[in-house]
């Protein structure tokens, strides 16, 4: 924000007079440690033009876009926004230019509904909105989707997690297009999951907005698309822009050639021709699993077999199936010999980040380096050292941490791991993603060596050009192998042609669920039916339960758990867990019975401080990235300490007004019942109806999405914790009203009980997916279980075991039903 403002002549000699450029990037450098992602990259964007940005993987396209969208600050270089020099693109420039971006790694909160994801972006940040804003937002969201993707078939009230990949991508794009002041739109691989006709709709939208004066940067690997929609093509290579082309004058082939074609050179040199005649190591005929249909293939020792096709045609699924069947034969897929798997998703599926290069290489060969049951250090060092020397890692020694390596070098270590394990079949899933040309050549070399050594190499790449190093190529389309290329047929052209062979897609987008199945899958079914069944059992055993006074008694003891569980729920909403609420409720209990009963003002202040302490705890957990489970465990010492300082011995009394209030009756309903209803309604309102409830839930799901939408993640987390603190206070109050006194140690059981209740209530411990009404119902059910067991004279000792068994069976059942639902979908 505080950048100096220098006037700079912005006009560029481009022949024809053009409008002032929106954005000029000059000599941009960006490095991460020793990895230079961008060096001297230039890019100028004028209003109303569509710039196609192409380049091989790892060329720095995504990094450049992150500089433009303000996610990253360049290490060096100059940025000029409408003639004004700035140090980095800050929120101010984003608003001024109207920069919006559809990210490749989708920036949606999957637990929020489609319209809420839109609303996060286009609603003001005030605490309240006029009534009916949800209806309005739903209408706008549906209209927006309909405008750009007619016939999209997306129900905007469904959570994003229920959408197909294509559906999500459409939502992501519409989210970017929604900006009223849109001036610069960045589309990063927008069509990777879209069918051809959806891609057409997107291209129409791009033309429409650019005609209205919006600048568009269109990044894609699909060069035919680039040619169709772009006014100008910029080629990025190794972090530098290496040329600008007129889409009317350049062919996709030329572009591929310019992008590197490194693979081709090597392919010529490789000894292709004579078909491999080694034993068949992998074979399948008519093999099918979810995602794969009728696969026929055969891989022999001593050959490299490519798996090609458009992204999302099932290639990784095929590789993982082969890997999963490594212990013999299942169905019609047969795998002979040891299999190793090398993933190109290094952070997600490959690297062990806490380890050295040595350990990362040796981990798959432990059997070979073990002597007398112990890992032999000398043997490990010899094994890893030989690969280290062969592969010429750019690192100090084989004992350097793997994270000191660049992405490409990490990949070499992973391939070394696969080869060192002595496997007969090597599966490679896009191993060259984000790897520079030189390292790629080394990787091709390694694969050739593996072939020469008689291994069967199965190689999947998202870069078609790389298929040229293969002896044979299977091209996949929608989970099927649609063609096999071999010999001279293995070329980029034929791979591309085969990939697009049948463009017609079976429509699988957006399936509406029936009202009935929606109801059955609702998270409320279990807790509410549990509550009703247990209540009915109670009544059957002891008909007195049906009278008003005993209902008051039963519910009266349930209320503290209701609030305790809601408090736990708010922490779970943020994706954390509160292991210390036993003592914090005890503290609230003590504060109410000793302080509040004496002085209303001092008491209230002390309780407000407790809420504030919870908010601070949330802030601490976020700012220092601490594990919540440990912090809350530690914090419980603090709660206990404060409680003991306030009152070293149990005692105190419930304030008169509190006891009176607890005994009153609203119409025919006793107060505890009213409190349960109010708690359920209030929780439901805060989480699902309040505007900020979207942020509260988003916080537990996708931090990036919240921050990119302009909301403060910190504030969201703190609010979740503050609400949890408020519930703790209410739990402490109602507990005092029930027990008439305070003892910090009696409320300890609330910790475990509240966690159990939250789970039975239908919440997901992973965060963001919660169900306040279910939690309240579950809390009532849990305390009714206790009285039921008393009524039927079950040993009170068994109550804990029953609770434990209920939790396990609920979760196990939920898992099974989910699995069934996902198979059916």
């Amino acid at each position: 924000m505080g950048s100096s403002i220098d006037e700079l002549p912005a006009a560029r000699a481009t022949g024809a007079p053009r409008a002032e450029p929106l954005l000029v990037l000059e000599d941009i450098d960006k490095s991460f440690g020793i990895t230079q992602a961008l060096s001297d990259a230039d890019l100028t964007v004028y209003p109303g033009e569509v710039v196609g940005l192409v380049g091989p993987n790892g060329a720095g396209k995504s990094t450049l876009m992150k500089v433009i969208t303000g996610v990253l600050e360049p290490t060096d270089g100059s940025i000029t926004v409408r003639g004004r020099r700035v140090a980095r693109v800050s929120q101010r420039e984003i608003v001024e230019l109207g920069i919006a971006c559809a990210y490749q790694d989708l920036s949606l909160c999957t637990n929020l509904s489609v319209y809420e994801n839109f609303a996060l972006l286009n609603m003001d940040h005030g605490a309240w909105s006029p009534r009916g804003w949800r209806k309005e937002q739903q209408g706008q969201a549906a209209a927006l989707l309909e405008r750009y993707f007619p016939g999209h078939g997306i129900d905007v009230t469904e959570p994003v997690s229920a959408l197909s990949l294509a559906g999500r991508q459409m939502v992501e794009i519409c989210k970017a297009l929604m900006d009223d002041h849109l001036g610069l739109l960045v589309l990063d691989e927008p069509t990777s999951a879209l069918s051809a006709n959806r891609a057409e709709q997107l291209h129409a939208a791009v033309r429409e907005v650019s005609a209205a004066g919006v600048a568009v940067i269109y990044i894609s690997h699909k060069l035919d698309e680039i040619q169709k929609v772009c006014d100008r093509i910029v080629l990025l290579k190794n972090g530098t822009d290496v040329g600008e082309f007129d889409p009317g004058r350049i062919t996709p082939d030329d572009l591929v050639g310019l992008m590197g074609g490194g693979a081709r050179a090597l392919a010529d040199a490789s000894s292709r021709g004579e078909p491999a005649d080694g034993p068949v190591l992998v074979s399948a005929s008519g093999y099918g699993v979810p995602g794969l249909t009728d696969i026929d293939l055969e891989v022999r020792a001593g050959e490299i077999v490519g798996i090609a096709g458009l992204v999302g045609s099932g290639q990784p699924t095929l590789l993982k199936s082969i890997f999963a069947r490594r212990r013999g034969r299942v169905g019609t897929l047969r795998v002979g010999g040891q299999v190793s798997y090398v993933s190109g998703d290094r952070a997600g599926e490959g690297v062990f980040p806490l380890w050295s290069i040595l350990d990362n290489i040796v981990v798959s060969s432990l059997r070979g380096v073990t002597r007398l049951g112990l890992v032999d250090r000398k043997r490990s060092a010899t094994l890893a050292g030989s690969w280290f020397d062969r592969l010429r890692f750019r690192a100090e020694s084989v004992n350097s941490p793997i994270t000191s390596l660049s992405g490409g070098n990490q990949q070499k270590a992973l391939i070394a791991r696969g080869l060192a394990s002595g496997a007969d079949v090597i599966l490679l899933n896009d191993p060259t993603a984000g790897v520079d040309i030189e390292t790629k050549q080394e990787i091709y070399g390694l694969l050739s060596e593996a072939r020469a050594a008689g291994k069967a190499v199965v190689f999947h790449s998202t870069e078609d050009a790389e298929m040229e190093i293969c002896d044979r190529v299977y091209v996949m389309r929608e989970g099927r192998v649609t063609s096999e290329l071999s010999g001279a047929d293995v070329s980029v052209d034929s791979v591309v042609r085969a990939s697009f062979a049948e463009v017609e897609r079976t429509a699988t987008e957006g399936r509406r669920r029936s009202a009935m199945s929606r109801l059955l899958q609702s998270r409320l079914v279990l807790p509410i039916s549990a509550m009703l069944v247990i209540f009915a059992l109670n009544a059957a055993v002891n008909p007195n339960v049906l009278t008003l006074s005993s209902a008051r008694l039963l519910l009266g003891t349930a209320v503290p758990l209701v609030f305790a569980a809601l408090g736990q729920m708010f922490v779970v909403t943020a994706g954390d867990i509160d292991m210390g609420n036993g003592y914090s409720i005890g503290l609230a209990n003590v504060l109410v019975a000793f302080v509040l009963s004496g002085s209303l003002v001092v008491g209230l202040v002390s309780l407000v401080l407790l809420v504030a302490a919870y908010a601070l705890m949330g802030a601490l957990i976020h700012l220092r990235q601490l594990p919540a489970i440990v912090v809350t465990l530690g914090a419980q010492f603090v709660w206990l300490g404060v409680a003991l300082i306030v009152s070293p011995v149990p005692g105190g009394q419930s304030p008169q007004w509190l006891s009176t209030l607890y005994r009153t009756q609203v119409l025919v309903l006793p107060m505890p019942a009213v409190l349960c209803l109010v708690a359920a309604a209030g929780g439901w309102f805060v989480v699902f109806r309040w505007k900020y409830g979207m942020v509260l839930r988003g916080v537990g799901n996708n931090r990036d999405a919240i921050e990119r939408s302009g909301w403060s993640f910190l504030l969201g987390k703190m609010t979740n914790y503050a609400l949890a603190g408020l519930m703790v206070v209410l739990a402490g109050m109602s507990f005092t009203a029930v027990t008439y006194a305070a003892d910090v140690n009696t409320s300890l059981a609330f910790c475990m009980m509240s966690i159990a209740t939250v789970i039975v209530g239908g919440c997901e411990m992973s965060g963001g997916v919660v169900e306040p009404i279910g939690v309240v119902a579950a809390a009532v059910a849990m305390s009714l279980i206790t009285s039921l067991l008393v009524f039927i004279k079950v040993d009170s000792n068994l109550q804990m075991a029953v609770t434990g068994l209920i939790i396990i069976s609920v979760l196990a059942t939920r898992l099974i039903t989910r699995r069934r639902a996902s198979v059916a979908a």
């Binding site: 220092r624 601490l626 489970i629």
Partner: protein, 325 residues
Amino acid sequence: MTRAWEFVRRYPAIWPILGSLVLFLLIGMLNGSVGSTILFTAARLSTFALLLALGQMVVVTSGDGAIDLSQIYILTLCAYVSTTLMDTSPVLGFVLAVLIGGVCGLVNAFVNVYLKVPAMVTTLATGYIFFTLVLIGSSRMKVLPNAGFVALVTRDVGPVSAQTIIVALVGVVLAVVLYRTPYGKQLHAVGQNRTAATLAGIPTGRVVTTAFVIGGMLSGLAGVLAAAVMGGAFQDMGLSYFLPSVAAAFVGGTAASGGRSSVLGVSFGALMMTLMSSFLNTAESMYHLPSGIKQLVMGAFLVSILILSVAGVRTRRRQVGMVTA
């Protein structure tokens, strides 16, 4: 300065060792004399928290949010089993009690790994069940420990308690298992990234199961020793060890996200928690502090040492994300 920082970051065991030293000196200051007795006593007192903390460390190291909240109930259950069975035969009682701890761990692993219930919830629920077994069985089980075994465990060898020797042996064996055997490597790999571990050919489910079993056996061993030292088994015997053991596990350099452990660090973590507790007890009685101060200081200390020791690891993680992205 930066090198010192780098060193501390690589060896998180430094924190609890420094903490133990500081608390040792503080206790010495209060007492007016610094004697090794303080250390040996603290080492003896820390036995049970330490065994639990080591078990917790093994489980947490398997990653994916694994944690064992049922430990203290396993401890109690095994304590009762040992006192009952040692009547027949001390050796049989000892072995069976520890094995039952392992079976409890196996139950946890079955629910967590095969029913896919999150570990925290699993062990919360199984903990209820184990405790119920204690509640039901305690009336029919024998409470007093075997006299011979008690004499063996409470004996001193020079200034060192037999308990400390047992724990030290367990620590050495565990360190060999974790840092020198293929299983140890696999456990740390699984903890860092389960997907990557599976794809690297590691039998992830088996590794996690073994971690739970080891954790259960250590809890069982703690129970057997505790019953002997405390003069018998009782229902709430595990309760007071829950917090110190969890705290020791994390303060000692166990990564909450898994994949990193330190037998040395966790051992000193347990020692530090014990020293802190006796320091606060001494201070409390000498200066007549209000009783809550002790817990307050303990909580604040715990959270701040976490901030110091955990923050370093996290920064490194973030860099990984950047580079591999």
